[in-house]
Symmetry: C2
Subunit: 346 residues, 2 copies
């Protein structure tokens, strides 16, 4: 009989609440014969305050013995900015070599968008997850004085760029429109930019069916709001991907709906699935958090583990639920979770 | 009698066409007693092809003997990406210490926006112009091989950050809403981010009337499309400012309207004014280019040189012209320039 060993990191703020709904829907979606074993890790702001640790080595080791990780959200105003992000979230992405940070964006019918004319949006961003300005290579000299100098180094390797670019071509090739756009800033960041562009062009020769395109990141943000329908698959650097996917979420119903997967395609380490949104401490405990992004992240998780039908059932349930939503009658986190679970089992 | 020594760099593509209109409106706006001396510099793609030079030392020297520079646009597909950008445009910004890259965004009535509900947008981005990831500090090792490593170093100094942050506080303090938002990514780029945040907080104590706010760059892009009315003055890093101001242009009528000033507030070097848009080679010579961004850049130029009334007249002329625009009856570059000049001479 089959089984899934799932590690769960609820994290901070609304993390707990949305993860509970994600697990509810996951259970409802799984076939009877699949045994779901979950283990919860108490990591985040509280753990840091209590112990001074963000991710103990023992936890990192034990997380490895899982098929996947479901993460809620990390971050709290009581913790200095960067401590939990670098010490826990990014640490996991880097330690588990999550080089494909997959972020699909789709504007569902009836879902609010700030864009006039409701363009037809359905693209996926393949954000590099283990390099670029996120490597944590930098420092400061004469910190806190008028003579301070601070650096941040973006590290980019052919090894790291080629594997994510290749993954993006595969995804583009598998989609009906077969279109791949590289986003970078190669007119200013010439070294990293040319590395990306050269590899993008070279690997492209192996995918003759895929139409390609290059945009500077600044121009890409323009098209995200004026012509988002032009995008199919986008591949980009870690930082540009961070920025673009929040914007993508904003135009497709908000970060309450944006799902993501931090994927290690080789399977050497567990992949990690999480909503794009943060811990939203302002609404934690109020029942106002929308668990849909986490539920859609669970669908990505299932799809990654080979449960494609179950993933599709969750996506269909979300689409139906969104179609019936009434902004004037908001439901609680729990009610949305129940409704989605019911649709999925039904 | 007064005089303005203006250096003009029309540049590539539509640069020539829009600069011609900018000069037309400038002449119309200037008081009779002000003598306008212009000197045009033939720099850009053609010059590079002919000579291999992007900015000869002699030109750099002679540009210094001016009160301001008006630049059209730089860049052509026939020139490798980065050559003209780094060798000419950024070279000028750095050589003339243009540390305040000023980019106002305002949604005029009747101007198209991709945003539903036409929010009330009126903010200005103060983008740092001489540091950050734009310094050109990086390189690549084993270039073109599967073992390539490429770096880009973001350099940030207390000296450079404090002066631009102070400028932004001054601008915020002079506006009715007195609100200043710092945009960075201090949860990931912790060294540069903390430098910015610490200086932002410290300098803020000198401006008790100014309300302050901090946003991560990814979150800022969300608010640009969902709640742009929340912004008054934004201060940010060179790269984040590049990205945000294209997005800002997109939601306020497009880059056809976005003006900018590369300002050296000390006056040690001439400041440079340019539309935010590029050289748009696809429409060069067709008369389709909108010269409004250049004309508004001329207004920034006049304002910088102390001709506040004339700048205001140009802005009013643009507002009137925009109010009367009919998307179904587009005018040529020249016609728009004529109409604006006529309104300004009035
Ligand atoms: C919390 C932060 C470190 C993270 C990132 O920058 O990657 C977040 O913004 C995201 O997009 O997942
Ligand atoms: C052309 C390019 C170098 C430039 C920049 O990145 O600053 C442009 O995008 C701008 O915003 O002025």
């Amino acid at each position: 009989s089959r089984s899934i060993r799932l590690a769960v990191i609820p994290g901070d703020g609304i993390g707990q609440e949305v993860v509970a709904q994600g697990l509810k829907v996951l259970s409802a979606a799984l076939p009877q014969d699949v045994k779901l074993e979950t283990r919860s890790y108490d990591l985040g702001a509280q753990h840091w305050h209590a112990t001074g640790e963000t991710l103990p080595d023992a936890d990192l080791e034990s997380l490895k013995n899982h098929d996947a990780i479901l993460l809620g959200a990390i971050g709290d105003p009581s913790v200095p900015s960067g401590v939990l992000e670098r010490g826990l979230l990014l640490k996991l992405r880097f330690a588990f070599d999550h080089y494909v940070n997959l972020r699909p964006s789709k504007l569902f019918p009836n879902t609010p968008t700030p864009l006039a004319g409701r363009p037809d949006i359905d693209f996926v961003v393949v954000r590099e997850g283990t390099e670029g300005p996120y490597v944590g290579n930098g420092g400061s000299l004469r910190t806190g004085t008028p003579a301070e100098v601070a650096t941040e180094v973006s590290l980019n390797t052919a090894y790291g760029v080629e594997r994510v670019v290749r993954d993006a071509y595969e995804r583009a090739d598998a989609r009906p429109r077969k279109k791949l756009t590289l986003v970078h800033k190669n007119n200013v960041l010439v070294h990293a930019g040319h590395l990306w562009k050269n590899i993008f062009d070279r690997v492209g020769q192996e995918y003759p069916e895929v139409t390609t395109d290059y945009l500077h990141v600044d121009a890409a943000t323009i098209f995200f709001v004026t012509q988002p329908e032009r995008f199919d698959v986008i591949v980009t650097d870690n930082l540009f991907g961070d920025i673009l996917t929040d914007l993508a979420a904003a135009v497709t119903g908000g970060i309450g709906l944006a799902a993501s997967g931090n994927i290690n395609p080789s399977g050497a380490f567990p992949s990690m699935f999480e909503p794009v949104h943060g811990s939203a401490p302002d609404i934690a405990g109020t029942g106002k958090a929308d668990p849909t992004a986490t539920v859609l992240s669970v669908a990505l998780l299932l799809s990654h583990l080979g449960y494609g039908d179950e993933a599709a059932r969750i996506e269909a349930a979300v689409a139906e639920d969104l179609a019936g939503r009434d902004a004037a009658a908001p439901r609680t986190t729990d009610e949305i979770g129940d409704a989605l679970a019911a649709r999925v089992s039904g």
